[in-house]
Assembly symmetry: C2
Homo-oligomer: 229 residues x 2
DNA sequence: TTTTATTTTTAGACAAGACTAAAAATAATT
DNA sequence: AATTATTTTTAGTCTTGTCTAAAAATAAAA
């Protein structure tokens, strides 16, 4: 049985990518509703698509029990993510896009089918390991170099001093907000106070004035420790 | 009434492009069958699509009478062609693709929606006027600088000495064949003999050995005169 | 100018991917 | 364990872009 490469639609590719992202490094099962939320669509549409992807052996799916990517499905998902992150890097490094302008375009470019093209872009960029948001770029073989000591800003202890290494969410509004408060990759953050009531956190960014970040914001910022006390 | 930009599907964009190409510089009306041929689809599908494009004021269409682009439709078609040719130039000039490898990828890339992206690519390439096949690249405003003295090789007289300036067809098989016989942009061609029976033509390419080109091939090669006798 | 051939359009069907509304499972409460 | 709430699935509909087969226009030939 030869390795027949059937062509997937953009919709199918987007589902695989979404499942990969939601299930996370722990490869947890993904619920229909979680997928519907992420795909901005209705649960019934998800069910339809999961059946199709199951049919193609790209996801393992059992009614009412959620789904997970098969090895084949994960391989494809990782390749889409590789393309997405390489294109974002290209846009920022070669075409001087701002990091808050690249997401929508990369979302389109990630579906271009040409191994030669994406490998050439990779080469042109000199095989970058991380994209402009600090996320690891899978290599040609699909290996992902997860950063070791990265945790969410929302999980740091008071008095931690950390460095921003990633921004997990790609929404334009978040990126623009971070731009506004001058929070960028490499910023030094002091965790001043944590408010348990709403899980917000007071921080000082690059020795600026203290300001408060909501849980929603801080949980999307990946950081590495610089020192602790 | 504001200039509402409705988003076109790739299929719609491809139809506009095809109509533009078939109708040519003379802006002749395009028949349903001609379009069906080019789009590799059935005449009935063409009729359906023409109605839709008519509805959107992108083509002028009257039953049984063929169609033509409106100003609005032509503007969009030209923009797609601009993107196609800039991407082909990018692939060849920046990523070292061969001129026979770029068509399929450019066919995908031409549908990426981002003015900023394509204008950045244009800038990166230093505003090229012609693509790797010798075809003019429309500028940002949609102006196309048609080459003045270009004619088809099939229309040259015996003993003409011409220079190849374009290859009009994008089919992989043609480009690979030209590669094989070492016919490339800039090649010097002597027209040795024309066979009226099948309209084939004997030529000498860059002082090589004489060989015969079919009408189908020679009518896809654009040339400029170098001298005549 | 009839007849024949060709081109184009209509009518009806289908697959993909989405939706709504209702039914069936599963999970959470009492 | 019985009831209520939530999640997920089914069933049926819609749009886009395609198809086939048959009907209607137009063009070519006799």
């Amino acid at each position: 049985m030869k390795n027949k490469k059937e062509i997937l639609s953009q919709a199918e590719e987007n589902y695989l990518k979404a499942i990969f992202h939601i299930s996370g490094q722990e490869k947890e099962k993904v619920s229909t509703n979680a997928l519907a939320e992420r795909m901005q669509t209705k649960a019934s549409s998800i069910t339809d698509m999961l059946k199709k992807l199951e049919e193609k052996k790209l996801v393992a799916y059992r009614k009412y029990k959620g789904c997970a990517l098969t090895a084949k499905g994960e391989k494809i998902a990782v390749h889409i993510i590789r393309k997405h992150r390489l294109w974002e890097t290209f846009l920022v490094n070669k075409l001087n896009f701002g990091w808050d302008e690249v997401h929508d375009v990369a979302e389109q470019l990630e579906h271009i089918r040409s191994l030669k093209l994406i490998d050439s872009i990779d080469e042109l960029l000199n095989y970058p390991k991380y994209d402009p948001h600090g996320d690891p770029i899978p290599d040609k073989e699909g290996n992902i170099n997860y950063q070791e000591y990265k945790i969410n800003l929302s999980d740091t202890a008071v008095k931690s001093i950390v460095e921003v290494v990633s921004v997990d969410e790609d929404s334009l509004s978040l990126l623009q907000y971070l731009d506004e408060i001058k929070l960028k990759l490499g910023s030094r953050i002091e965790v001043l106070k944590k408010v348990s009531f709403d899980e917000s956190v007071f921080v000082r960014i690059d020795n600026g004035n203290p300001l408060s970040l909501s849980k929603k914001v801080s949980s999307n910022i990946g950081v590495k420790f610089k020192s602790e006390k």
